[in-house]
Amino acid sequence: MSGPSTYNPKSGFEKWIDQRLPLPRLMHDTMHTFPTPRNLNIWYTFGGILTFCLAVQIVTGIVLAMHYVANADLAFNSVENIMRNVNYGWLIRYIHANGASMFFLAVYIHMFRGLYYGSYKNPRELIWIIGVLIYLLMMATAFFGYVLPWGQMSFWGATVITNLFSAIPVVGDHIATWLWGDFAVGDATLNRFFSLHYLLPFIIAGVVGLHIWALHVPGNNNPLGIDVKSPQDTVPFHPYYTVKDAFYLVLFVILFAVFVFYAPNFFGNPDNYQPANPLVTPPDIVPEWYLLPFYAMLRSIPNKLMGVIVMGGAIVTLVFIPWLDTSRVRSCRFRPTMKWLFWFFAGACVILGYCGAKPVDAAFAGIPLVWVARLATAYYFAFFWLLMPIIGLIETPKKLPASIAQSVLGDSAAAPAE
């Protein structure tokens, strides 16, 4: 699909540019004429939404950094100063703070969509793996960012997460000290986290470029999971998908705005409006919602090192999905068994999130949550390492449609409709 370019420079100026730096040609071929399957549904609009989220976080973040002070004694008050005294500082900060949650909401939908429609399968393995890398970078960036206001949850979250590295045998404590730049989380830690929090989004932007580049070689997967076979199966990206993406983006922004303007602290933890105090540990240290499933895994394992390995393993597992899935069929639409297992998997992730949000000794209807989390963790790994390879071999997929065009337009598609 990344076939010959259809760019045709019209003016002499465009020709002059095209011979020297064919940037307009690149834009034309990737964002205008790019042939895109005509059957992409709402779940395929989240790639564009995520690009928007990244841009919003970078722009608001740069403005916040103009007023924020990365110093353990001043950070908390500098954030309050932004909220109270900087013109529209409250708006910028609430957009940035809620933007992180919206970013993760979108990335989870994007990932589950890829999982459901088999978008990681040959020939799109690298797109998926680069995506996992972006997800990892996003988690790191979000974690560093959450530390910056230097509230109670910032401080204790940083302490808990960095302490995980001390679980590594022999060198663990040295690694933790090296990460802190001190013998505990303190001013040095805050400064380096700020530096990294500013750096990583630009690295994410670069890796997103690779993600899109890799996408534009085979082109989009689609809800049917079958290859594009003829030009009839596709429509040009512009105006078909520019307008569709724009419409759904605005719906997403409406949700975003409801949080920013009417429930700006919905995703926040009240403890983070108290300045960091190394002498007072909050009764429950909870990470942001998007990290809760992994936190639940960590806490459900009694051994610290094993817990860290399981948590890390849960993310590393994602890299291997393209080879763990043995099915020849991509889309779960045509995989009667896998479809159910997928929804159980989504359910397990939600349950893990719920367990992670509750105190460690909590119970639901008399069942200790730690056992619920263990069960869900077991399913998480079993789904990828056992069910995916086995089901792919034994499942009888439903009959695939002959082509995208036939599926969308009916049999009359044999005659060109455009």
Binding site: W90, V235, Y240, F247, V250, I254, V408, A417
Partner: protein, 269 residues
């Protein structure tokens, strides 16, 4: 394998035996959910009740400020849009009543002849005066407990305004049989652990409202909670107003885009 099973069974029986007793113990010390109470600032169009803000400021100044600081509030905030709505003259007068540490005088002295730190009347630009010079002084005067700063108390507590209101009105209840009120502490079922170091701060007619409102404990608590909510979120009215405009715009934009989307795709499927 059998050992594991036996152990699990034993654990289950043990849990069943222990749970009810533990639950009762917990019910005694676990805090009650905050009282359901309604405020003018709730909902997407809610605004702060100016009268309540002004009365609440009076309660804060005459009662709370004796022990609690509000470090993020400056006098000029009291006359800002979306706030209590005092006039500049009123705020100047309020500020002049407060005394804040002064800088060195022309001779470079920081203390007077008696060795006391130099003080001056506050101005619009000054932040609210602190009740204690430092944390140690605050603890020494409060039986070892540190009165928390109140600027963000409403946002820093689960339950927000309802929690603050419940704490303020949650005294004067009899502790359940068997509950031990720690020496020097007070019973308040809305506080975690139910032993609170703060003595009941509000009494009926503890303040005299100039607008004739009857100063019951409920009224005082309601007013000061409104004031503290504004203190934590002074831009709330601006935020909700702007949000309304933004949403109207976005919904209109979505409508236009939907029409364009339908038109573009009309022949494509």
């Amino acid at each position: 394998m059998r050992h594991t099973k036996t152990a699990l069974l034993g654990l289950a029986i043990g849990l069943i035996a222990v749970l009810p007793a533990a639950a009762q113990e917990e019910a005694n010390t676990e805090r009650l959910p905050p009282k359901a109470v309604s405020f003018s600032f709730e909902g997407p169009f809610g605004t702060y009740d100016r009268g309540a803000l002004q009365r609440g400021y009076q309660v804060y100044k005459e009662v709370c400020a004796a022990c609690h600081s509000a470090d993020h509030l400056a006098f000029h905030n009291l006359m800002e849009e979306g706030g209590p709505g005092f006039t500049e003259a009123e705020v100047r007068a309020l500020a002049a009543q407060a005394r804040v540490p002064a800088g060195p005088d022309e001779q470079g002295n920081t203390t007077d002849e008696k060795g006391q730190p130099l003080m001056r009347p506050a101005t619009l630009a000054d932040y609210f005066p602190k009740p204690f010079a430092n944390e140690e002084a605050a603890r020494a005067n409060n039986g070892g407990a540190l009165p928390p700063d109140l600027s963000m108390i409403v946002k820093a507590r689960e339950g927000g305004p309802e929690y603050v209101y419940s704490i303020l009105t949650g005294f004067h209840e009899d502790p359940p049989a068997g509950f031990k009120v720690v020496d020097g502490k007070y019973y308040n079922p809305y506080f975690e652990g139910r032993n609170i170091s703060m003595p009941p701060p509000l009494v009926a007619n503890g303040v005299t409202y100039s607008d004739g409102t009857k100063a019951t404990i409920d009224q005082e608590a309601h007013d000061v909670t409104t004031f503290l909510t504004w203190a934590a979120e002074p831009k709330m009215e601006d935020r909700k107003r702007m949000g309304f405009g933004v949403l109207i715009f976005l919904i209109a934009l979505a409508g236009v885009l939907f029409a364009a989307y339908r038109k573009v795709w009309k022949d494509a499927h």
